[in-house]
Subunit: 331 residues, 6 copies
């Protein structure tokens, strides 16, 4: 039995217009479920890791449909709670060429946003776990969610679990009265692996630097428990055509990945989460350099799949890393 | 140019599962827009009446899609406002036989619910109008919406406009701290035509009666401006099979309609609104008895059409009243 | 090798709204092809009869899609021609309960309507044939089509082929300047088997009678070559619920079929053509009484199938005649 | 933690034509998964019972999609195996009125049919279990599957687990050389609760009786461990209209349920499995009479839901038993 | 209240095959409405301009669905008429790579083509208007439509309204007996702004020139009221990949736009109309150079949107002109 | 009447996920039919060649749907047989960018695989034929199918029919106990035109060569009846972007085609069969060099069309060869 990975975060119902239709013209929304952390959980479960996700859903049939999504993905839902409140939603419109893709969030007042984690048996949650993953979206949603995240990080730390955090700074979210710099440092100081670009570092770690390696070194000075810092670089030539690469700073070196050209993107949502999942998987099972390559390749493959979730196998990711089978018709 | 009809109320985006799928199993939501009052507006506009609807939408593309729905229906949107807040939603699951149809509302915190009508040029709204229609849903949503409704009713009255109100009592809605009996009487006393069953009368007019005619008489005593009281009787043998009739009390007699058997219901949502629209149209253009017949026949036809809106012509309703062409293949 | 059946008539592209949507609200049309005579051809071919259809299509991809429909049905298209002109269309809206089903025809100026049959090698068409079928729609479309029909009937007669005609009087069609009574008698006098109700007889045979047997006798006096007259009786309780039966007058007796209750109609278009096909099949292979039963049962089954074509096997029709397997789940 | 229920049987991919389309005309198949025993498992899991299903899938993406179905339903897949062989399929065509619904099975040579259960840790499977459910489909598929079923029944018995078996005799399946009477008695003698009609009893228990109670008594004499025998009675007026009731013999009395009219069936596949699940749930949590009522009501609700699985809650079933909320629009 | 823009032209129902299906293989047509001039009207209305469209529809439900399209777009339909005749249609097949996109027009004998504008209150039409837009498609359809166009242009001129005309020469259309050079000059001489490439100039203005500036100068000499001449240059590398730019001659200089690469075209229909709408908007609100940039950017964005209509906001066009947000995921 | 072309091979039902969905996530399969040889037949019939296909289908509705596909394509089905066994299937998942397209075959135990051709009247099959086409898939499926292929090749040869064979070596198929080198030489020695790359030559002709011309010469030495050897070269940059060219060795020269860039592939399945059909058509109607160009251009166009079948006309292929109309919007 592998050791367990715990993830925490809101699961949203995603409503996407078909094809490249705009919100204003659609007659139909395709239903999926996703969320930055749940996408990581789904990837890891698809790769046969033992994963449990912590969150809350509204106590009605649509909330329960969200639970079905997690279960289908093979994620343990023992720590999923049904609470009062709305289902968090997001509406997605897939751009093309010069026209940007667009998301309208409708997640305020959700059941999750009112879930502060009081009463959760955190000891049970982290029993047998070796990794805990959170993102900067949770503390940005509400005071309750920030408290939830803090409780989880502390509990994980207390039980000796490795912690990763995807800083993922989004200006629009922080609306409940606290600034990121009031909240994030307490979370980051208990975190081993962070995903952060320079903007994230400035807004959430309080680090102003133009050079990524310098920024990493300063982060390590401020938050000495950090062992890895990583980020992706995405060059958005158009909505349909991006170029992607990643870096991983392991306290010593800044490792760089191969750069991938992605000229026919099917769906870029969840690309970052696919990278995060790949990195966790890689750091658990591979060398640092191989972990980074695996993470970037996983992210690249996500861009070819509709929906939030990255339905690719470890073997498919490894093949892309090795440059095998790309573009073939596999029979 | 016909005189104008003004309606007021929230427009919701309706997300329906296809066919008879349940929420828990669907992969797709069909998009429509509707709302008790907007459905009345759409019917009347479809019947070549001049109609303007008053409401507020969120200032984003999905809100604007709601405006498109009103425009497509031929409803004047000069008094539609874009405001902060969410888009009100409802999710609809079409039952069958013993399985009930189900609605999950997700309308709290909407742009409309925060719209109190301050700053609206009510004189302009009611300029040239001969009818104003509201429902008991609006005052049930929020304090702001209750104030909006009150402002509109008073302004209509001041400008000599006839007023109709569909009492439509829904226990689940009244959550902002006031009870219906604190709010509704002030609206009803300025209303000429009300749709109310015995339950509505008890909860919103404060009238406890078992006999409908007695209840109507008492309503008239308490609210002397009322000229008509009407309601439908629906016998729900199953989700697919209902029996429908209506009554209209005109201060003197309780007129009764023909009873319609509806054994293959396609979509019952908006059936009551179709009746209301039919009654307004009828009271403007027909005798009392013919108005009631028209209203019931309009409602019956609605049950054969998917979505909230009643896409039937005056001629089709008149034909059903006369029993012509029913079930034929019209070439 | 069985002897051949020849049919003649326009094939239209049918564009149907999905489910029970109305024209005014649809975003999508489902494509099928059909036509009174082609539906007969398709049924007979599905029952392993050798059938060739005579018609003209416009010389473009949509016309060719019409040919594909005939070929897929197993109908010989050796006598299908590509000509100038439009594709004839019809738009179909499936009613429900009190709301009638509706067809908007858009067939004027079609390639077929300009096809007069000059230059067709009629000897080749009827070589080896034992049955020719036409309907009253063809002579109603245009002068050219009337001439085409007349040419075909005469040629069939000359080659000793049995002829059936479905009178199918439709007032809306006769717009090119001739009345049915100027055109139809010349066709009917060369026809052995006709489908005609009392209205058809009045308008196309010039027979005014209230009693069907009397009308049949008079038809025989006027058109002595007629050997069979048949019709269906449809009681349209609603769009969804019809009751169907048929009669067949064989020169001596008026045979009557069992009456079928059809309370959940899926699609009634082509119901009459299914009857016609059943009658031709029956008269070729069965006794008169069995032919009638087969025809009615074939028509009943058609009402359970979407589209114009009657995809039921001889065995399925026979089983319904015998009352076997009805409503079972066949594994 | 509730005690566990174990089910065993093949999961098939179901490919259904949309609406009422026939196989011959469809351009599209809707995908679901199901199987007599897995449907029982899914119902019980939906009712918050702890359920594990034992089966084998082919080791490819479509097999894994089958596992996702079980997981989504909340069924424990710890004892689901990936093996060589095909995915078992069935194609489903939904009839209407006089036209029967039709299934084409394509399940031979499947991974499951080659799975004999050797090497399964049956002690682990039944650890903590209180109920095991099998059906007569498994021993009918292949020698391997019959051995699998026998191993499971014996192991369950050895560990003191209650056993139910849905006899479900299907003549078409028994093609591997053994007759039911060679195989079934060994399974039935270790079974406490059986679903069997008179035909099942004749073919699988060797009991020829016209009277159901007499047949039950004889079954008890032959297989003294049987405690309950139950069956449903379905009157198929048409594909769309069935009448359903059930009986339960508890060793003493033959209990009868209310009779339900089902005049607008959406999908009858899985109706029997819904009854079985309801009976297991009822026998675990209710009196005998209430168990039967619950089982029949669960089955009735299934007929309103597309797909194999019965997405209804315990509360919905209980409400139907009590006659509450039927046909209402629940908001 | 902004001054009004009037457009005139036929609205066609567009029936598109899904995805990249060919006419010959499709089972489904997606419904949209469009037309060169109505597309301009829809764009301008979407940009909050006050626009009224003049046209005629057939007096049936599909004609009325066309009106709904205009209303939904926010276009004033006060001058839309219901007349006898067909609905004009076009069938669209979206090409890919080396395979060309294809349109089959089916617009002859339409209600619009028989609409000559006699009886229209042109004074009312142009009351308060500042711009009138027509295209060379209208005079090409029929004698009646040519007369309609001529009446409108003269009336606009008489009321001091600026006039634009998109010459849009299509050889296939001119089938009613007149040549473009008999008809177009009378229209052009009353037009201020024309869209015309060298081919248009040769066929409709009678100008043979290889150099665009020379051609413009000659046009000005022949038609002195012309103030602007503009055209786009499209390099069709493949159906999916075009390169687009535009020029605008303002009587003095030939302004050139930026060149846009469009390597993943979603739908190019309406691209020229989007340019025309952008140019009108630009000439009303911006400098000449900015007007051209706006027009080209509007056209480029259209290529990313399914359907005829250009659902992009002024802000989105301006952002593309400035190179902002291109390819981003906007949250 | 043109001389006939005979093709032989299994027709599979293709079930494709919509868009770019993966097997693991789909809820829907789109239905098409295809097969290497049937695709050739369909192309040739679409190009007005007289083609008959020889194969066997299971005797149920889905088998008959396969026959409908052939008929619709205009292929003569006189030599299509209904036999016991399954319908062969394949599941198709369309890749994108770095993610490969994937096929899961499910064709073992099919009716075709058990069809050995005994009892077929081969004289009738090849009566009037001038070309017979087979592929290396048939002898790879089963012993029976290998015998069928051998019988057909010998019979064709005996009747003086030209024979083409697409070697199409697939390692996964050869599972019935014989190796390609035991079976293929006997087929190839009776074949005039073969499609074979170096791998095919090694595995099926026993020729190990690195140089294609040398390999062709050796093939000619070993199998002196071979007149043409041809192959395509596909450079798969990604699933969406391939580069294609072809060569044709005519016993003297190795002719090379133009190289086509295909940067937005819609569906590459059937690309090789489109080439084969083009080559047969070309060799029947054109010079060697023109035949090769036609074949490659036909294959290129196939990549723009969903499904197995290549719905392009001879004129469209010729236009691409001449570089005409590419990327235009044809009205």
């Amino acid at each position: 039995m592998p050791k367990r990975i715990i993830t925490l975060g809101e699961v949203l119902m995603r409503l996407s217009t078909p094809g490249h239709e705009r919100f204003i013209q659609t007659h139909d929304y395709e239903v999926q479920f996703g969320g930055a952390e749940a996408n990581v959980a789904a990837s890891l479960a698809f790769w046969d890791q033992s994963v449990a996700h912590v969150c809350a859903f509204p106590n009605h049939d649509i909330g329960k449909a969200g639970i079905r999504f997690l279960r289908a993905a093979g994620v343990d839902t023992s720590f999923v709670f049904l609470r009062e409140g709305r289902m968090g939603l997001y509406f997605f419109e897939n751009g093309s060429m010069h026209r940007s893709s667009k998301i309208i969030y409708d997640r305020f007042y959700s059941a999750f946003s009112q879930f502060d984690g009081v009463g959760v048996d955190w000891t049970a949650v982290f029993d047998g776990a070796e990794w805990f993953h959170w993102t900067g979206i949770t503390p940005a949603i509400s005071e309750a969610a920030a408290n939830l995240c803090q409780r989880a990080v502390v509990a994980a730390r207390d039980q000796g679990v490795r912690v990763s955090g995807d800083i993922n700074y989004r200006r629009n979210l922080w609306q409940y009265g606290k600034s990121p710099l009031e909240v994030m440092p307490d979370l980051i100081k208990n975190t081993d692996v962070i995903i952060a670009g320079l903007t994230d570092m400035e807004n959430c770690l309080g680090i102003r630097q133009d050079d990524y390696v310098e920024a990493c070194r300063e982060a390590k000075r401020l938050y000495p428990d950090i062992r890895y810092i990583s980020t992706t670089h995405r060059d958005s030539l158009s909505s349909t055509h991006n170029i992607l690469s990643g870096v991983l700073w392991n306290g010593e070196t800044l490792l760089g990945s191969r750069t991938f050209d992605m000229p026919h993107i099917v769906d870029r949502v969840g690309g970052g989460d696919a990278f995060m999942a790949g990195l966790i998987y890689g750091l658990l099972h591979k060398s640092d350099a191989d972990a980074l390559d695996f993470a970037v390749a996983a992210s690249v493959l996500k861009h070819s799949i509709p929906g939030d979730a990255n339905f690719v196998t470890v073997e498919e990711v490894d093949q892309l890393v090795r440059g095998e089978n790309v573009g073939k018709l596999l029979r």
